[in-house]
Symmetry: C2
Subunit: 138 residues, 2 copies
């Protein structure tokens, strides 16, 4: 099965018209592994990130900290291929069904939501599966 | 199995200390059905919403449009019981594992992410399962 989904221009317009971007021109995006349901991460997209994601089938985000467009995995190789693009009821958040290559989290964990309270401690409940030093070396 | 999880004050502090609230004092929260993996909705929480959620075991959000604290299901009865509260790697988004009573979406659909492109049309891919007029009548 192919898991990369690209959208022609008329379809891209349907999606972008359905999104209400916030005052910074951003929309919150949840990335979910399409076949397991694992919530991988939440990041932000601007209109260009949505356009690039839909036209290439590879997920792009807007980095608020670096103030730049960012193709997920461009440094680490841990890309996200788009499977389906969903817009919520009031158009202010989106859900990306993706196929994650490698790991989603820059810490080397499979997803970003690994902090939880256990036995009175904030605990990292998921293991590091890829050495971050290996993910980002050039 | 009980699916309502309440947190004592020291544990609540561990969670709130791990969250970086944005300039509006908010954090994006993804609600996911704990046993099926379904992403139900994304909404926003302020510190009080986090506190109330952790102390009561019932999910509370901050309504940006109404500028008020809101217990999910307070009008509709379609509440979310907290199962686990996760904080992401950089503390700026949270994942709520919940047990959803009824439906999560104010449109009467089970989740809010029902808009997708199908055959050149923006299509509602999930059915209305509860009449919204019945959800919100007093």
């Amino acid at each position: 099965m192919t898991t990369q989904s690209t959208y022609a221009e008329p379809d891209r317009k349907l999606v972008t018209d359905a999104i209400t971007f916030d005052r910074d021109g951003l929309v919150a995006a949840v990335a979910q592994q399409h076949d397991t349901g694992e919530v991988l991460m939440v990041a932000w997209m601007n209109r260009e990130a949505v356009e690039k994601t839909l036209s290439t089938g590879m997920v792009h985000y807007w980095s608020r900290s670096r103030a730049k467009l960012w193709r997920k995995g461009e440094e680490s190789g841990h890309t996200q291929s788009l499977v389906d693009f969903r817009v919520d009821c009031d158009g202010d958040t989106v859900l990306l069904l993706v196929d994650q290559a490698g790991v989603a989290c820059h810490t080397g964990r499979h997803n970003c939501f690994f902090n939880a309270v256990r036995d009175g401690k904030l605990t990292q409940i998921a293991p590091v599966v890829v050495d971050p030093a290996r993910m980002y070396r050039k």
